[in-house]
């Protein structure tokens, strides 16, 4: 999925392990292929190619993901938006130049989930619009891989798709899995360590992809309403029963900026947030720093 994938599993029968890992890898590869932005024949590319033309009938799985994305859009008041990928055309994080306001004004009319037509079975995009499921597929794949492990009778396991992690049971020694949340100021260190016996954790942070222009950090999480990267939060990590849910709540938290703590608290989320000044929030932040 463009980032390292790792599985940690325990089972006394090596052949069960081999089989479970193979099928889980296949499952991740299947989703990567199906929703790839880069493969021209992927289900996603077919939808995007039809923008401005005929509606595309999607399968049940894609419909489920689109319904989910629609709900994220709704619940985040339009901040979590799978149509915002077009903004990447003008934001080049490998450069050191910002897009012009003219460029932003030109592209913002092609952003907005409420502009596409989705009836639960068929999707049609207006001309020049596209959708990008990158914000949900990796987390969803982690959930699916976890299900594969369960189906193979694995009782102790960990799925790690580039930091989006699901666990199956505890560690074989009955201890919880210890999940380090990267310190945004020094990603090689953990800002906080979260013990996890079940469920999933996903993290979003401004250290993942960014550029610095005139001493100001511009990260890859972009507010679809303004076209500008968010500034306030350095990282948000969320624990829930599903990696998909953890991932979207973490991203919405980043997008909510100053409102992140209040919003996540109101949603009864289990989270850790660190702002750009290093201040820690959330019910996973542990005891206050000395």
């Amino acid at each position: 999925m463009g980032s390292p994938c790792a599985f940690k599993l325990y089972h006394r029968d090596q052949s069960v392990l081999d089989r479970a890992i193979k099928v889980a890898q296949q499952e991740v590869a299947r989703l990567e292929k199906k929703y790839s932005h880069f493969l021209v024949a992927s289900e996603l590319s077919i939808i995007n190619k039809q923008a401005g033309f005929d509606p595309v009938q999607v399968d049940d799985e894609t419909a489920g993901l689109l319904n989910y994305a629609a709900m994220c859009f709704e619940l985040s008041d339009g901040l979590f938006d799978i149509t915002s990928g077009v903004l990447r055309r003008i934001w080049d994080f490998s450069s050191t130049s910002l897009p012009s306001q003219q460029q932003l004004d030109d592209i913002l009319p092609t952003v907005g989930f409420d502009k596409i037509h989705w009836d639960g079975q068929k999707i049609s995009l207006p001309k020049n619009m596209e959708i990008d499921l990158g914000g949900v597929v990796k987390e969803y794949a982690a959930d699916c891989a976890r299900q594969v492990l369960l189906d193979h009778g694995i009782t102790h396991g960990l799925v790690d798709l580039g930091g989006d992690m699901c666990v199956v049971g505890c560690q074989p020694n009955d201890q919880p899995w210890l999940m380090g949340v990267r310190n945004p100021e020094n990603p090689q260190q953990a800002a906080v360590t979260i013990p996890l016996m079940s469920g999933a954790i996903a993290t979003s942070g401004y250290y993942e992809r960014f550029m610095v222009v005139d001493g100001q950090r511009y990260c890859h999480i972009i507010n679809p309403k303004t076209g500008w990267p968010v500034q306030f939060c350095a990282t948000v990590a969320v624990v829930s029963s599903r990696c998909l849910v953890s991932g979207s709540l973490a991203t919405i938290g980043m997008l909510k900026q100053q409102d992140a703590v209040n919003w996540l608290t109101a949603q009864e989320a289990t989270f850790y947030m660190q702002d750009a000044h290093g201040q820690r929030f959330g019910n996973l932040s542990g005891p206050p720093k000395e």
Binding site: Q14, E74, Q147, V245
Partner: protein, 404 residues
């Protein structure tokens, strides 16, 4: 289909407390994953298996003549299985069999009034080669397999075609199974001495056909048990008598019906998988048979080696065909008659054990079973005459499966 916005509102309304966490969790659970679609195997498998089948000698006092040796068969089988693309697999196998020994061809009465068997005098040495190819297409909800096999020995050849499919429904808890198959066989009996005469001559060039259908259903009962029920029908037609028996005349059609039930249960406490199978068989020749078999599969550690053991037991009992007779050859009358012990009333018990040892990508198999049969195990009451030709045998098999 509910529109997503309506679904979102509905989801939040249902909950006393509307949070994005609960609404999104519900929505995430509603995504129909396809992780448990009919999985295409991704490994190639090369298997080699050797089986030795050995019939016990007949007791000397029940044999006319000195030779008491019956069949001994060695079978070498090589199988290659490979996935093709992402949706197909190909399963090929070649089998080479050598057979030697003698078989009963007649019976008579000895001075004590007991039935004694005449075994074919000269020891037969024969070989059989068969080959089969099966291609499977994997769909999201099932599989479709077509197969063909050919078999050739010096006095018999056979060609078979089959089509089978499976369909998973009810969230994969139920699998419907179906198959049809047909075969075309041709007989060319070997001459006795240098001349082809009698029933052998009559059978030469004769053919035999079969047509079978099977319908079944597999149901997952719960996490630990499944049951499979099936019904099968086979119609045989053509030359169905045994040309090597001195007086054997059977109808030229045979309609067979089977009902099968298979139960699989995993006993968590003992970590044992238990298999229980039952088969009922009836045909229009009057044969009615019941077969019960059971095995348990258990992983054990022996001297640090991780081995799967599967002891098994099987009991079979049947009624005789209407025209089964032990009357001496010259005294046989009526339209049909046969002294083939397989058409008699009898019971049979076999016990055996299979062992598997996994080492990386290789599986070693070892199996042994002992089969014994007797007339008075048949639960159908004694017959007028005994059936001394009933057979006891052992099978020993060794195999290696290599997955790569």
């Amino acid at each position: 289909m509910v529109k997503p916005r309506e679904a979102a509102v509905a989801a939040t309304k249902i909950l006393n407390k509307s949070t994005a966490l609960s609404a999104l969790t519900l929505s995430a659970m509603a995504i129909p994953g396809v992780s448990n679609a009919a999985v295409v195997p991704e490994n190639k498998t090369l298997s080699v298996r050797y089986t030795q089948y050995q019939e016990e000698d007949m007791p000397q006092e029940r044999v006319q003549g000195v030779n008491t040796q019956r069949y001994s068969i060695d079978v070498l089988q090589v199988r290659y299985f490979t996935p093709v693309d992402e949706k197909y697999s190909l399963d090929t196998s070649v089998q080479y069999e050598t057979l030697s020994g003698a078989s009963p061809y007649d019976n008579t009465l000895n001075s004590n009034g007991q039935t004694v068997v005449n075994l074919s005098g000269a020891t037969i040495e024969e070989t059989r080669v068969d080959a089969s190819v099966a291609g499977t297409r994997y769909f999201k909800e099932g599989t479709l397999t077509s197969s063909v096999y050919i078999s050739k020995e010096n006095d018999y050849q056979s060609l078979g075609l089959g089509l089978s499919g499976s369909l998973e429904i009810n969230q994969k808890h139920t699998t419907l199974l179906g198959s049809i198959s047909t075969s075309f066989d041709e007989l060319s009996p070997t001459p006795l001495g240098s001349t082809l005469a009698g029933s052998r001559l009559e059978a030469d060039g004769q053919s035999k056909r079969s047509f079978s259908v099977y319908e079944g259903v597999t149901q997952v009962l719960n996490k630990f048990s499944t049951v499979q029920l099936g019904i099968g029908y086979t119609r045989l037609s053509g030359y169905l008598s045994d040309p090597y028996r001195s007086a054997d005349r059977r109808p030229d059609t045979r309609e067979q019906t089977t009902v099968t039930a298979q139960y699989r249960h995993y006993l968590t406490q003992m970590a044992v998988a238990w298999h229980l199978d039952y088969r009922f068989y009836q045909d229009d020749w009057g044969v009615q048979a019941n077969t019960v078999s059971s095995s348990v599969w258990k992983d054990v550690d022996v001297f640090g080696l991780h081995i799967t053991l599967a002891p098994n037991v099987r009991y079979h009992w049947q009624h005789a065909a209407d025209f089964y007779t032990l009357a001496p050859t010259g005294d046989r009358s009526g339209e049909y008659y046969s002294d083939d012990f397989r058409l008699s009333a009898y019971g049979a018990v076999s016990v055996g054990i299979d062992m598997q040892y996994h080492h990386n990508d290789t599986v070693f198999n070892l199996g042994f079973s002992q089969y014994n049969s007797a007339e008075n195990w048949g639960l159908t009451g004694s017959q007028d005459s005994e059936t001394p030709a009933l057979v006891n045998f052992t099978t020993l098999s060794l195999g290696v499966d290599y997955h790569f």
